[in-house]
Structure formats: structure tokens, C-alpha cells
């Protein structure tokens, strides 16, 4: 392993984080709040450590898949650990594990908060929370690739380990240009939403917070009631941008370059929109006919669509108390959480393209079983899908299942936890979602045992990085321990 290169990149990530921390500090100073100094206390050692690691002289720029995954796994953990420091030392969140939860929830764009009263939070803290969403949405390593040529040709391993989806493809020949384009489109969409919300009467500061949360499909709000207090038109603006954030960003590039036809033919986009529409219709009918909470079908549909979009794109804004909804609607929402957004978007979940691939692969297998002499290529967007991609797609489902089961079992050990709460809480963390079907996290989180909270934290990281980088990192950490254990065994027996 090229350890020097890993150190250097981690150093650069720390420097980037220190620079980002300047923003909440400045906002804190501008708002005349006293807690800006906590950002300064964090960013100075962070920058110093970053500069120290960055000055490591590398012997070569060679990187392989394992370095890529180790770097991404490590970078995200370190990013979260440092990001939690201002919450902790300022006393905003007095318990470090809770602060870490908030930080991981921010970076992984989960948007589940442990702060009981966000309305009392200072401007600086609010801004930092939402900014972590924005950084984590498109990814900090992609940001690094856009601004710095530290790594040579093999930097694709970093992009692949961080960007979500079964296959990661470049949109321009060079990675740095690809990364720049992705961030440019991300920035433009963010700016558009801010503009739209400001026109609709939100203050620029609040519009920025909400837009960071929307485009990153995060879900941190500045109100305790999430978006329930927003006007209908503001909710519609947020809805539109949530849908946009859940779409593969490389499709926007095709739009920019005038290849709209190709975009309209994209299989994942079609299914994404179909699922959104079907989910909204099903839930609106269900809630309209079972409860009379709504004045008319129009309102029921609006609320259902908001919930479906927020749930499927993994944003997790709530405009309603979903605990009051009938079981069918809640189950649909739970399923949509697992489906998630499109590959290459900022959304979480398993991703629509994996579902499409898996179902197509399943159909092919069934046809082959029925008609053993037939040849059935699995096609995706008109191209035959290589066998190894199908295999890794199936494996991904299996791993999600395993992790969901394990996590559910562990959190169910918590006293007072019931079966639906334990499943719903794992679903919302693992899929970086933030919708709280059982009100589980806000109500009881701070009182959970540390290991339950740690399970949620790890689940969020696993969900954002799509399992492998985190697992790979654990493997790297455990290998030396295994070796040591082996030596001890030899001596004993």
C-alpha cells in the first residue's frame, strides 16, 4: 500500500475541511454570536495537521483499488470526527458520540438530528450543519479531484469508491474536468433553488440552509417541525429540487451538451420518475380514503408526493407527521427508502439502477431456466450488461440485507425498542434518509447506549459509501490485529 499517498490525500482533505469551516465562523462573527471561536479552535489544529500530512513527500502516485477504498473510508471517518468537534466543544451537543452522530448524519446527507430544539441553535452551528450536507452530497474527494492534481491517472479509484451507483463513468476525458463539471452543475442547481426560495419570501440565510439540505438530499432543517410550516409554494419548490437532486448528475451534462434525446431514453431516469409517480398515487389514495386529515384530494396528493419524493430521494424533509399515516403508506415509504435515488446523484439508498439491473437479471435467469438453450443478454440502455456487473449488483443486495439484519438485531437489544422502530431506524440510517417513521431517533436517541448509537453511525457511513470502502477499511485495520493474534496463538499452543 502506498501509505505516503494516503497520508498526503488525508492531509489535503483536512485542509479542505478547515477552509470550509471558515464559512460558519464568518457567519457566526457576522451574526454577533460568541460561538464562532469554537470553529477557529477546531480549524487551526485541523489545518495544521492537514498541512503536516500534506507536506509528506510521495515517492510515486500509484494507486490501486485498495488504496482508493482505504482513502475514501478514512477520509470520511476523519472528516466526520473533526466535523463533530465544534458541536462538542461549544456545548451545542454536550455528548461527543451525539455530536459525532450529528456530524456523520450531516456528511452522509442522512439529515437525522439529535438536537431537540434546532430553533435555538446559533447561525454558525446551523450553517455548519447544512454545509456538511452540501460537502458530503457530491463528495469531498470529488471536490478534491476538481481542485487539485495530487493523484495521477489512477485517481479513478477514488471517484469510484466515493460516487454512488453500480458503475461510475467519466463525463469528460479527464477526471479533474469531470469533477469540475459535476460541482459546477451542483453549484448552479443550489444557486437556482436559493434564488427561487428567496423570491418566494424566505430569507437568504434560511433559503441557503434549505437548499444545501435539498441538493445534497440531506434533510437538516432550521425548524423543529422540518418543513411543515412552509407555505405550499415553498414546499413545491423544495419538491422540484429534491427530484432534480435524485437524478444522475451526468444526465445534466448531457442536457448542457444538447443530447436531450439520450437523457429522455435513460432507463434509470424513466423508472425513477415512474416509481415516484406510482408511490405518490398509491399513498395519496390510501391516506385520502382511510383518514380524513386532509381537506381534499389535492392536499392529500401534495402531501403524499412530498413524502414520497423526500423518502425516495433520501432527503428526509418532513411536511407532515408520517406517524399518523396508515400502515400501507408507511410500508410503501419504507420500501422507497431502500430504493433510493439514481446512481451518480446525491441521493442514498440502493439506487434505482441497481433495482432495474437486478430485476432484468432475474428475468434473464428465469428465462434461461425455462428455456435452457435460449440466450438472453441482459440489456441496459441498449447495451449488454457484463456478467460481473450483474453479479456485483446481486451481491450488493445481499450485503444490504445482511447489514440491515445485523444492525436491526443489535439495536433491538436496546430496552424499550420494538420491532418496527428497530427496522425503521436502521432503514433511515443505512439509506441516509432521515424520514422518521417511528419518531425513534429524535425522541430516544440521546438515551440509547453508546454501542447502539455507534451502529447507527457506522450504518450511515456504510450507506453513503456503498459498503465497500468502510468494509475494506475495517479489513485493513483488522489484518495487523489478526497477525498479532496469530503470533499469540503460536506461542500458546
Amino acid at each position: 500500500m502506498n501509505k505516503r499517498l494516503i497520508f498526503k490525500i488525508i492531509g489535503l482533505i483536512l485542509l479542505i475541511e478547515a477552509v470550509f469551516m471558515l464559512f460558519p465562523m464568518i457567519i457566526g462573527i457576522a451574526a454577533g454570536e460568541g460561538d464562532w471561536k469554537y470553529f477557529l479552535y477546531t480549524l487551526i489544529p485541523c489545518a495544521a495537521a492537514g498541512a503536516g500530512l500534506f507536506s509528506v513527500r510521495i515517492r510515486n502516485k500509484n494507486m490501486y483499488a485498495k488504496e482508493g477504498m482505504a482513502i475514501v473510508g478514512l477520509a470520511w471517518i476523519i472528516l466526520s470526527l473533526v466535523g463533530a468537534v465544534p458541536y462538542f466543544i461549544s456545548g451545542f451537543i454536550p455528548d461527543y458520540i451525539n455530536a459525532l452522530f450529528e456530524s456523520v448524519s450531516g456528511f452522509t446527507t442522512s439529515g437525522i438530528t439529535v438536537v431537540a430544539d434546532v430553533e435555538a441553535a446559533s447561525h454558525g452551528m446551523l450553517f455548519w450543519r447544512s454545509l456538511t450536507h452540501w460537502i458530503g452530497g457530491m463528495g469531498v474527494l470529488v471536490f478534491m479531484l476538481a481542485i487539485s492534481p495530487v493523484v495521477g491517472g489512477s485517481s479513478m479509484h477514488l471517484m469510484r469508491a466515493e460516487a454512488p451507483g453500480p458503475v461510475t463513468e467519466k463525463i469528460k476525458p479527464r477526471i479533474s474536468t469531470t469533477a469540475k463539471w459535476l460541482y459546477a452543475m451542483y453549484l448552479v442547481l443550489t444557486a437556482l433553488e436559493i434564488l427561487a426560495l428567496v423570491i418566494d419570501g424566505l430569507s437568504p440565510f434560511h433559503a441557503t440552509l434549505i437548499s444545501f439540505g435539498t441538493l445534497a438530499t440531506g434533510g437538516f432543517s432550521y425548524l423543529n417541525s422540518s418543513l411543515a410550516a412552509f407555505t405550499a409554494s415553498q414546499q413545491v419548490i423544495v419538491e422540484v429540487f429534491m427530484v432534480l437532486a435524485g437524478i444522475n448528475f451526468s444526465l445534466y451534462f448531457l442536457v448542457v451538451t444538447g443530447k436531450v434525446k439520450k437523457v429522455l431514453k435513460d432507463l434509470e431516469l424513466r423508472w425513477y420518475l415512474i416509481i415516484l409517480a406510482a408511490g405518490s398515487v398509491l399513498i395519496s389514495l390510501n391516506v385520502y380514503f382511510t383518514r380524513d386529515q386532509f381537506t381534499g384530494f389535492g392536499e392529500a396528493f401534495h402531501q403524499s408526493a412530498f413524502a414520497v419524493i423526500s423518502g425516495m430521494t433520501s432527503t428526509g424533509f418532513a411536511a407532515y407527521d408520517y406517524n399518523l399515516w396508515p400502515g400501507f403508506s408507511q410500508v410503501i415509504l419504507l420500501i422507497l427508502m431502500f430504493v433510493g435515488g439514481c446512481a451518480g446523484s446525491t441521493g442514498g439508498g440502493i439506487k434505482v439502477s441497481r433495482f432495474v439491473l437486478a430485476f432484468k437479471g432475474l428475468r434473464g435467469r428465469i428465462r434461461e431456466t425455462v428455456n435452457p438453450k435460449g440466450t438472453y443478454n441482459v440489456k441496459y440502455n441498449g447495451k449488454t450488461v457484463p456478467e460481473n456487473i450483474l453479479r456485483s449488483t446481486f451481491l450488493y443486495f445481499l450485503m444490504v440485507m445482511v447489514i440491515t439484519i445485523f444492525s436491526t438485531v443489535i439495536v433491538s437489544l436496546e430496552p424499550g425498542m420494538d420491532i418496527s422502530t428497530s427496522i425503521a431506524s436502521v432503514a433511515t440510517t443505512l439509506n441516509n434518509n432521515g424520514i422518521e417513521l417511528k419518531n425513534s431517533l429524535v425522541a430516544g436517541f440521546a438515551s440509547y447506549a453508546w454501542w447502539t448509537r455507534l451502529v447507527y453511525i457506522i450504518d450511515m457511513l456504510i450507506g453513503r459509501l456503498e459498503i465497500f470502502p468502510v468494509v475494506a477499511l475495517f479489513v485493513f485495520l483488522f489484518r495487523p490485529m489478526e497477525k498479532a493474534a496469530g503470533k499469540v496463538k503460536k506461542h500458546l499452543f
Binding site: 491517472g153 485517481s155 479509484h157 476525458p173
Partner: protein, 452 residues
């Protein structure tokens, strides 16, 4: 510039790697999934899987917006076809690899009709370079510049060489002639030496000198400077054929050994002057029988790197008088075998890449001084660039000692009015000069980039 490379086997990858370092936007197309996987993991290029001879694949890959297409798939015919299609969909310049001897001879006739800008033939180019070395026995690589006025030669310091242990600055006094050591390879380290570097056994040395001075230098070191009289080529593939043909035309007695009787008959018909023998060139008995051990030079040009290396190692060890030439497809073997004598190594893919890059740099039009030609010495790691100076150049007529140059760079020679000399601190750059620059940094395109 936007460049598309069709086919990313060895040559395609070597070209892509070079061009990537020079900051071009590169798309590679190949229908082999493994090739595509490998290149997308190691190089910052846009990989496209598909058959490049299909217009649809080319259009999907956005090739119509490329400035240049380089077709280097396995097949000459497919390469030509790709270039024709590319031309049709709007690519301005195309380069095709044509290496089959029959086509290579005809290609100049039809090049313009096909819309081909340039045909690259790695095997023939490699054969040319090998010929340079055969004409100068002591050197392991010879590159000619400034219309033959100037040469960059490479050799290895063997045991008992009088210059081993000498400082670089004392060399000129030792040979009484002006030569300039421009690069040294020691272990895996390649550097441009200053005067206080001590020369060691096993060092690879590149130097710039005029031919007569180089001959004197080699004579002082007791290296042979004459040409080879007779050559044995083991492996009658494309490189073997081109080499045999050229050597034969230059009056060298040629003997070719190949396993394939069919190929032997064909070679016999094509090169009547050469002696063709049919047998396994890795068989000691066959080598003995064919009198290989009595030849003054042996070129290993079989398809298998392993065989080439093995026989070269054996020959270098048992018959140190024989000049051994080894063709390698994989460059890694050279690094793995550091310190083991496997003769003079030639790698057709790098030679082809040099040709293509020279063409690409000349395409990057600028008012400034373009690179006239470029080549690589010592494992492809040191770059030699030739510039022609025009009015636009900065630092004209200023003594060199007052100019600050870029690091890892050496201004090796100035050719003025057909006269080459190694510049000193008081010399100046004048309009009309041809200047040779040596650097371990890659990707210098304009003359102005040599200044700090």
C-alpha cells in the same frame, strides 16, 4: 487537444500515457473489456468499449469533435478503415499503424486518397534505430539530430572501463574532446548530472557529441566504433524482416533463424541476399549448428519477450564479444533485470509513441518555436527535444549564464550555420539556431517553457 486512440493494446497504451502527460483530452476505444478496464484504472482518459470501426461507436464516443484520431488496433486493414470513417465524420487528422511489410510499401501511394495524415510503423522504426546501433558497435542507442551534425549516444560502463570512478567534469580532459554527459541511469534513478558526479560501473550514460568526437571517446574507453559485419536475427517476424532487409541493403551479412518453415520460405523470397535458416532459435544445438556464436551481432526479435531475454542473457554471459540486441514488448522486464546484461534493448511501442508525439506536438500550432523532433533515451525516461529558433524567442542574444533555466533540464547543443557545438556560459541563443534540449521532465512543447 482532443485525441481519440482506437485500440489500446501495448502501443495504444504507450501513446495514451505520453499524450496524457502532455495534457491532452484523450478518449480510448477498444472492444476488449479487459484492455478498457486496465487503462481506465491506470490512466486519466475516457474509456469507451466498442468496435472503433463502427461509425456509431465513433459518434457515440464524440470522436467527431476530436482533432486527431490514432488507429492502433491489431489489424492494419481495420486501422485504415477506422481512419477513413473518422475522416468522413469530421476528424481532421488521422494516424494509422501500418506494419505489414506489403502494405507498408504501398501506403505512401494511397495515403492521400485515404485521408491519412501519417502512417506509423513501430517495427520498421525500431529496425531503423537498431541499424543506427549496428553501425556504431560500442553504443547501445544512437539518435541523430541537426541533419546528422549531432548525436545523442547511450552506452553502459562495464568493468575495467577507465572512466569508472571519474568525475563528470574531468571527462573532457581525459578524452581531449568536447562531449557533454546529459543523463545517467543508476539503479532505478535517472538524473542529469552536474560536474561533481562520479561515474560508476553499470551506469547507463547518455551524451551529446559530434560523430568524430564520439568515436574518439569510445576509442579511449576501448569500445569498438566500427560497424557490424555480420548479423544473426532470431525470429523472422515483422521486426526481424525489416531489420534483415535494412541490414542487407547496408551490406551487412544477414542470417535469419525462424521456427516456421512457411515463414522462412517467404523471407527467402523477399530478401534474396539473406541466409534464412529454419530452426528453434532457443535451442543451443541449433544456435551452434547455424554458427550463431561466431557472428558479431545477434538480434533477438521473436514474439516472446521471455525467449528474447533468456537467449540474450545467455549470449551476453558466454560470448561477451557478440553485440546483443533484444526486442522487448513489455518494458517492465528491463526494470526487473536491472544489472543483468541483456544487451541493447529496443521497445517498438516507445519508438512508435515518439513518432506520434512528434507529430502531435507539431500539430499544436503556435507562433512560437515548435519542437522539430523528439526522442527518448534511457528506458524512455529522458527526453531529447530539438527546437528551431525564430524571432519570437525570449532571451535572445543574452549570455546563457545570465538566463535561469528550468530544473531537470540541460541545454545540450547549439547548431549554427551547420556547425554544432556544446554551449558554454558566454554563448548566446541566436535566430536560426537549432537547439538540443535534454530533460527528465516530460511534456515541454514550446521553447519558452525551458526557462524558469
Amino acid at each position: 487537444m482532443r485525441i481519440t486512440i482506437a485500440g489500446c493494446g501495448r502501443v495504444g497504451t504507450a501513446i495514451a500515457m505520453q499524450l496524457m502527460k502532455e495534457n491532452h483530452d484523450i478518449t480510448v476505444i477498444d472492444n476488449n473489456e479487459q484492455n478498457i478496464d486496465q487503462i481506465s484504472n491506470s490512466l486519466d482518459v475516457l474509456p469507451v468499449e466498442g468496435d472503433a470501426a463502427s461509425a456509431q461507436v465513433l459518434l457515440d464516443a464524440g470522436v467527431n469533435k476530436s482533432d486527431l484520431l490514432i488507429a492502433v488496433t491489431d489489424s492494419d486493414i481495420v486501422n485504415l478503415m477506422i481512419c477513413i470513417i473518422a475522416k468522413k465524420i469530421g476528424v481532421e487528422k488521422t494516424i494509422a499503424r501500418i506494419r505489414e511489410p506489403n502494405y507498408a510499401h504501398t501506403i505512401n501511394l494511397i495515403k492521400e486518397d485515404m485521408g491519412l495524415s501519417f502512417a506509423v510503423n513501430p517495427e520498421r522504426d525500431a529496425a531503423k534505430e537498431i541499424m543506427n546501433v549496428l553501425m556504431f558497435k560500442g553504443a547501445s542507442q544512437v539518435e541523430t539530430f541537426a541533419q546528422g551534425n549531432n548525436e545523442v549516444m547511450t552506452f553502459v560502463i562495464r568493468d575495467q572501463n577507465p572512466i569508472a570512478g571519474m568525475l563528470v567534469k574531468d571527462l573532457s580532459r581525459f578524452i581531449n574532446r568536447k562531449i557533454l554527459i546529459c543523463a545517467i541511469k543508476r539503479q532505478n534513478d535517472i538524473f542529469i548530472p552536474n560536474g561533481s558526479v562520479k561515474l560508476e560501473v553499470n551506469d547507463y550514460i547518455s551524451f551529446v557529441a559530434k560523430r568524430e568526437d564520439a568515436i574518439q571517446f569510445f576509442k579511449k574507453m576501448k569500445y569498438e566504433t566500427g560497424r557490424i559485419r555480420d548479423l544473426t536475427i532470431i525470429g523472422g517476424g515483422k521486426l526481424g524482416y525489416y531489420l534483415a532487409d535494412m541490414a542487407n541493403a547496408n551490406g551487412i551479412t544477414v542470417r535469419v533463424i525462424d521456427k516456421d518453415p512457411e515463414l522462412c520460405r517467404e523471407l527467402n523470397e523477399r530478401i534474396p541476399g539473406a541466409e534464412i535458416m529454419c530452426g528453434d532459435g532457443t535451442d543451443l544445438a541449433v544456435l551452434e549448428e547455424c554458427g550463431v556464436f561466431q557472428s558479431s551481432a545477434v538480434a533477438m526479435t521473436t514474439d516472446s519477450d521471455e525467449k528474447n531475454v533468456l537467449v540474450s542473457m545467455y549470449l551476453s554471459k558466454t560470448h561477451p564479444d557478440i553485440k546483443v540486441i533484444t526486442k522487448l514488448k513489455k518494458s517492465d522486464f528491463e526494470d526487473m533485470l536491472y544489472g543483468i546484461d541483456i544487451g541493447n534493448v529496443f521497445n517498438p511501442k516507445y519508438i512508435a509513441a515518439d513518432r506520434v508525439i512528434t507529430y502531435v506536438r507539431a500539430m499544436t500550432e503556435s507562433l512560437e518555436n515548435e519542437v522539430q523532433s523528439i526522442c527518448h533515451v534511457i528506458d524512455n525516461k529522458v527526453e531529447v527535444l530539438e527546437f528551431k529558433i525564430t524571432e519570437m524567442t525570449e532571451n535572445l542574444r543574452i549570455p546563457l549564464q545570465k538566463i535561469r533555466f528550468r530544473e531537470h533540464l540541460l541545454l545540450a547543443s547549439i547548431t549554427r550555420n551547420g556547425n554544432s557545438f556544446i554551449p558554454g556560459g558566454d554563448d548566446t541563443i541566436e535566430v536560426g539556431d537549432t537547439i538540443l534540449v535534454i530533460t527528465t521532465d516530460k511534456g515541454i512543447e514550446r521553447f519558452s517553457e525551458i526557462f524558469a
